[in-house]
Symmetry: C2
Subunit: 218 residues, 2 copies
């Protein structure tokens, strides 16, 4: 059984691995907000547990076992977010912090019951896939809004990052998962997107915001 701290390292490496295969000690230390020696020590200990490959002066990499464990923590996190959202009526901007704590609860029964009550969901409230009980993750293939051409109609399906600021911004603009956005125009000067919403209001999204929105074309 990993400690809570080690579970957080596992999760950090799990996420960092998705972008680039290997993870440097420096990246890890930054993600975990700890010093480099701390990250280094922890990497060694996690190697002893068989969760990752570690060689002096080389980036680390999760073992099969480590990857599975990481995915299972993400599973618990996202199931919890879904439960908080669907059963306990929390807003999508409120669920992350609470799930960050509940994900460490040691009870399969508890998470299995959540899963059952929710009807075995595959996506969390931010559109991210919930790994299955074996740690397998559904591959979703959304497009980044920033790459879509003017005139196109799209549906919001996920978020590249689920920071509270972004979620509050989307709340304010009345944009949620499933919202349909029509791209009217892209401003050459700053790459901002002029967008028509379902309620016929027109809003402006900066390129940065568009980079965070995952959509499918309609």
């Amino acid at each position: 059984m990993p400690t809570q701290t080690k579970e957080n390292y596992l999760k950090a490496i799990y996420f960092l691995s998705q972008e680039n295969i290997d993870v440097s000690i420096t990246e890890l230390s930054k993600k975990m907000n700890v010093s480099k020696p701390t990250a280094n020590n922890m990497a060694k200990k996690m190697q002893e547990k068989g969760w990752l490959f570690y060689e002096k002066y080389k980036p680390v990499k999760l073992t099969i076992k480590g990857k599975r464990l990481g995915a299972l923590i993400v599973r618990k996190h996202r199931l919890t977010e879904m439960f908080l959202s669907q059963v306990m009526s929390f807003g999508w901007e409120e669920v992350h912090d609470i799930a960050e704590e509940i994900e460490h609860i040691n009870s399969n029964l508890f998470f299995d019951r959540m899963d059952e009550i929710l009807g075995f969901p595959t996506l969390d409230p931010h559109g991210s896939p919930i790994p299955d009980k074996n740690g397998k993750v559904l591959k979703v293939n959304y497009l980044n809004l920033s790459t879509i051409k003017p005139g196109q109609k799209v549906r919001l399906c996920g978020l590249e990052n689920s920071s509270k600021d972004l979620l509050l911004f989307l709340n304010k603009k009345k944009i949620k998962l499933g919202s349909v956005l029509s791209i009217l125009h892209i401003e050459k000067f700053d790459n901002s997107f002029e967008i028509l919403l379902e309620n016929n209001s027109t809003i402006l999204l900066t390129f940065d915001v568009c980079l965070s929105l995952l959509v499918e074309e309609l």
Copy 2:
């Protein structure tokens, strides 16, 4: 903010205080399954935090602040038990272990929402009172079944101890909170109780079991 460990000490002292006012270091160490020096050290540290009174060679006692903190942890525990039971359909014998972990979650929002969803309950699934948000506890005044005379009809309202074994035993006998029990006879030899249930079956309860059942007379 108390650590998880210190919260558990707080809770232990809180419960030990209900029987006898003061709590000896030895009692505490037994309750916490730690050595006496460990309990002793912890007592000193908790004194520094202002949670208890500690003097060398004397039993410890919670301060007002410590008592309030303890009660608030019990509140989180019992609200959780109620939520697990009412919302997530767990049996009363399953809720304790999970609540033991969830009680340490640091989010008033989370527990307030539970409270709201449950309709602000005052008792947990075992009939124990849920302390309010200020740590005040409703005084319940149940009788111990072992003190009731033959011929009397009673309703089960609470449990003196909620051990899993007792709860499973009661499940097997189809006895639950609210069940009406009629005392037919008390066996002189071993003080066992012959009891008539609502379904007209007659069962035998040992004196030990009776000591664990809290009732009100009908």
